[in-house]
């Protein structure tokens, strides 16, 4: 173990504690964006309350030159702007770290800690002296701490200025106020503190081909590019911003609000039951349609999801998971809907799930979801979570191939129906489990009765067990057969690996970082990230080739592990679950500590001799 202090340039994390509804979000966004524009990988995690105004809120920013942007629970610096949380905010600074606070008033007792550096800046005093209105004073206080951070961390002031100019291009008064506030904070920091701190920024060239985007925005964009024309939804955190984004993209790309007419219909439903019903209705008519919701919405949608599965109607459902059960913690993240979505509804059902690991995949999987839903004539879920959906991530620029055309699946047109004469809706002509469908309003020969009640291969009502089973068996073949068309798992193998780690979704970046840290501890691990359900055969092969297996996921009961066990027959108890479920984005530390603890307490001889990293 070496005590030599590591270079902290472009490698640190800080946290900003504010009061919800005071306008701190734009200041935090400004800071994070400025770091990104300096070419340095950065992430922001917004820990917000289920509240509009008054409750505490935090924003965590992690800077990492190597691109590790999972949440870091070790804070080098905390900006304490909320007196109500002083005590816990001060306690979160690592020993030897920094605490920036508003020194307009005497130092509060809660902030006193001998093992850290206290940085007092009179933010309120500066704003009171320079701004007139009470609202402006509150808002500009946020920009003054952004200015102080710029000084302390060595941020390029020009870049912040450029960002402000872009944002307030048409609001000159606001631009001036923001510039003034920024300067007040910055100048104070430069004069009063030893700037920059050892935790500092230095321009890199690591983000030139990247963007900062949240998963909800990316998924909404994917829906636009996929050609979705009907969106039905009911507001629910943390999915709401996806429809907000879809609406704003529709204004930009689909003529929403134009006199010539919108090439999209966005329906705010009376509840989630209606939202999925509208999606199914539009899918029945041949439009690409989707809904976005979270766990409680999925619970309500179960009835219609069974109908869509059984009557074989395309539908795309985005589930931005949050902490359950019940209302749970609506503004905290979790991966608790895996089992719910995999087998949603009563009776025997199984659904296609796409499991993006970052916002870029949210975009691409959104497009894939519509193709799969139409090809397999079934609901397709895109499961993200609050962390992926609502926080900005650094991802490579999204690419689009203009040669793409939607896969509409087997849909018979008027000419085919003319020739066909008699149409049998659920007849498996091609032997792939997928029967051709027809759309209403096309041809009288295509007419049939779409129903959730028992039906035979011809589409007629039945109460005959054999006829019923015939259709259900085909549905099982169809869905299982879809596995070959789904995104393949991401697999990273290392020589001499002794353990295997399986993970999913937004855990990805934390696991990648953990793999490096585990290697430093002499533990070599292979890694498989599941990207879709039904599972690829590669998952089974991965399980069989490792003696010790860990499943990293963010829920209490190890839902992914259970799902894997159910579907592959691999013993559940041999899949060791790692990862917290308290609502915060996963950190590499949790993964490393979880794996290490399991290896230490278990007799399984899975750990190789400790040696230096990169040996």
């Amino acid at each position: 173990m070496s005590a030599e202090p590591r270079d902290r340039t472009n490698d640190f994390a800080f946290k900003i504690a504010t009061v919800n509804g005071t306008g701190s979000a734009s200041a935090n966004d400004l800071v994070r964006r400025a770091i990104f524009r300096m070419g340095i990988p950065v992430s922001g995690k917004n820990l917000f309350p289920s509240n509009i105004q008054g409750l505490p809120t935090w924003y965590e920013i992690r800077v990492n030159h190597a691109g590790h942007t999972a949440r870091s629970p070790e804070f080098d610096l905390v900006v304490a702007m909320n007196a109500a949380t002083y005590a816990r905010d001060a306690a979160e600074v690592r020993p030897g770290g920094w605490l920036l606070y508003d020194s307009t008033w005497p130092l509060p007792k809660e902030l006193e800690r001998e093992d850290l550096h206290l940085l007092g800046a009179p933010f309120s005093g500066l704003c009171n002296a320079n701004f007139a209105g009470s609202r402006e004073r509150i808002l500009m206080k946020n920009i003054t701490y952004a200015g102080a951070l710029a000084g302390l961390l060595g941020m390029e002031l020009d870049i912040i200025g450029e960002l402000l100019t872009e944002k307030f291009a048409r609001k000159k008064a606001l631009l001036e106020s923001n510039f003034l506030a920024l300067r007040l904070g910055y100048d104070h920091a430069i004069e009063a503190f030893d700037c920059p701190l050892p935790i500092r920024l230095a321009s890199l060239d690591a983000t030139a081909d990247s963007i900062l985007i949240d998963g909800n925005t990316a998924a909404a964009l994917g829906c636009i590019y996929a050609g979705a024309t009907v969106a039905a939804w009911y507001p629910i955190t943390p999915s709401t911003s996806m429809l907000d984004a879809f609406q704003s993209f529709s204004r930009r790309y689909r003529g929403l609000g134009d006199p010539e007419g919108a090439r999209v219909a966005i329906l705010q439903a009376e509840d989630e039951l209606a939202a999925i019903g509208m999606v199914v209705g539009a899918g029945w008519m041949g439009a690409r349609s989707f809904t976005a919701t979270s766990g409680p919405g999925i619970s309500l949608m179960n009835e219609f999801l069974g109908l869509a599965y059984y009557a074989e109607i395309p539908a795309v459902i985005f589930d931005v998971q949050r902490t359950g059960p019940s209302t749970g913690m609506p503004t905290r993240t979790q991966q608790g809907d895996l089992l719910l979505c995999a087998y949603a509804s009563h009776g025997d059902t199984k659904h296609i799930l796409l499991l993006p690991g970052d916002p870029a995949e949210c975009f691409h999987f959104a497009v894939a979801a519509f193709d799969l839903a139409e090809r397999f004539q079934t609901p397709v879920f895109v499961l993200t979570d609050l962390d992926v959906g609502m926080n900005d991530w650094v991802v490579p620029r999204l690419e689009w191939d203009d040669a793409y055309r939607p896969d509409r699946g087997k849909v018979l047109g008027a000419e085919q129906l003319d020739e066909l004469g008699r149409f049998h809706r659920y007849l498996d002509v091609d032997g792939d489990g997928i029967a051709a469908r027809t759309l209403p309003g096309v041809h009288p020969n295509g007419a049939f009765f779409t129903r959730g009640s028992g039906h035979n291969r011809h589409g007629a009502y039945t109460e005959d067990g054999a006829e019923y089973s015939d259709v259900m068996d085909r549905l099982a073949r169809k869905i299982d057969g879809s596995a070959a068309s789904l995104p393949v798992p991401e697999i990273r193998s290392v020589r001499g690996a002794t353990i295997g780690i399986v993970s999913v979704g937004g855990c990805h970046r934390a696991v990648l970082e953990a793999l490096e840290r585990l290697a430093e501890e002499g533990i070599r691990a292979d890694y498989l990230r599941v990207r879709a359900f039904p599972f690829s055969p590669e998952l089974g092969a991965f399980l069989q080739s490792h003696e010790r297996l860990f499943v990293v996921e963010q829920n209490r009961d190890g839902q992914l592990a259970s799902l894997i066990s159910l579907e592959t027959g691999y013993p559940r108890r041999a899949l060791e679950k790692v990862g917290g479920y308290g609502g915060l984005p996963l950190s590499a530390r949790e993964v490393v500590e979880g794996v290490m603890a399991a290896l230490a307490t278990s007799s399984a001889p899975a750990v190789s001799q400790p040696r230096r990293a990169n040996a």
Binding site: I213, V230, A265, A287, P440, A447, F449
Partner: protein, 350 residues
């Protein structure tokens, strides 16, 4: 088996509509409802209405929920796509379908159990959105398929077949629809086809949500003494006070009624609904007036039937501002912004 096809026999002398089709082209499978069920009479009225309007059968989408009434779309228009949704939730299916294909004619058939209990919220919101569709509630005050429980439209004091008395106040879909701002509200009686057919035709031609509540006695569970939705009770208490004729825009309008007793209302496509024999003060476009009139008749134990209220207001697509071309027909090229636009957009994500 309840899916029984009718033999495709056609009498050469059957009358034909403007499309050259006969009434048989608008029929469906044999009904499997109880003999004498009011719902079957409504089915016959629906067939006649769509036939007379010369709507191509495959351009109709027929939808329903769950229950006896919801079985009936099987019994008409076998050349039209049907959708048997889940219990109470046909309106969302119709809403989404209509959003995708505004050029199709939507006909929803529901019951009092389907629409006034489990699906009440969905009905209210379909009215609120003014989804362009004809929505028929086959109202018998009872859950037939589960054998005789009271529905939400059962009147206070009405008795079940087992002798229980209902003590909960009923939900009247007509008054409800008026309160919610419905743009077309009517009530019929399954035993009065002459009155019902023009109402259905006007409802199909109305642009927006047309609610038609049809009292339809349940012969198995609600046609006994003590029931307020039996044939006998309805015949005694129904008052076809508001007699309306539907006149398609293509027909020459001739005045067959004495001036002063006819009040014409023109629909968006130029067709006309003519109210005749209405009380002189009756104005079918005055929402609060209609509501007080209905309450007044109810106080005399009368069930007022007829086309009660009609109004032209923006339907869902007009409110949403969608293209005239049905969304499902838009070519992909008009939907995808393309690679260059994506690149440009992402400059703002930096």
């Amino acid at each position: 088996m309840t899916y029984i096809a009718k033999p495709p026999v056609r009498h050469p002398a059957l009358p034909r509509n403007a499309l050259g089709l006969t009434m048989r082209d608008y029929e469906g499978a044999m009904s499997t409802l109880c003999a004498g069920c009011g719902h079957d009479s409504i089915t016959a009225a629906i067939i006649q209405a769509i036939f007379e309007l010369s709507i191509p059968p495959h351009m109709v989408a027929k939808l329903s929920g769950i229950g006896c009434s919801s079985k009936t779309p099987t019994y008409f228009l076998s050349q039209a796509h049907g959708f048997n949704a889940v219990h109470g939730r046909m309106p969302p299916i119709a809403t989404g379908a209509n959003a995708a294909r505004r050029d199709v004619v939507y006909l929803g058939v529901s019951g009092d159990g389907d629409s006034l209990s489990i699906g009440l919220g969905h009905l209210c919101h379909a009215i609120r959105r003014n989804v362009d569709m004809l929505f028929v509630i086959e109202n018998n005050g009872v859950y037939g398929l589960t054998k005789g429980q009271f529905s939400a439209s059962a009147d206070v004091g009405t008795r079940s077949k087992r002798g229980e008395e209902n003590r909960q106040t009923p939900i009247d879909p007509v008054l409800l629809a008026l309160t919610l701002g419905a743009t077309f509200v009517a009530r019929g009686f399954s035993g009065d086809k002459a009155q019902l057919v023009p109402i259905l035709k006007a409802g199909l031609r109305h642009r927006g949500f047309a609610l038609v509540d049809v009292v339809s006695p349940c012969v198995a569970f609600n046609d006994h003494v003590g029931s307020t939705k039996s044939y006998q009770f309805t015949r005694q208490h129904a008052r076809p006070i508001l007699i309306a004729d539907y006149v398609p825009s293509a027909d020459e309008i001739t005045t067959a009624y004495a001036a002063g007793s006819v009040r014409p209302v023109t629909l968006h496509d130029g067709s006309t609904v003519r109210f005749r024999k209405v009380p002189e003060s009756y104005d079918p476009t005055d929402r609060s007036g209609v509501e007080s009139y209905l309450r007044e008749r109810a106080s005399y134990d009368e069930v007022a039937t007829g086309l009660l209220y009609v109004e032209e207001a923006p339907e869902m697509h007009e409110a949403l501002g969608t293209t005239v071309t049905p969304l499902a027909h838009l070519p992909y090229e008009q939907l995808c912004p393309g690679a260059d636009a994506l690149f440009e957009l992402q400059n703002g994500f930096r």
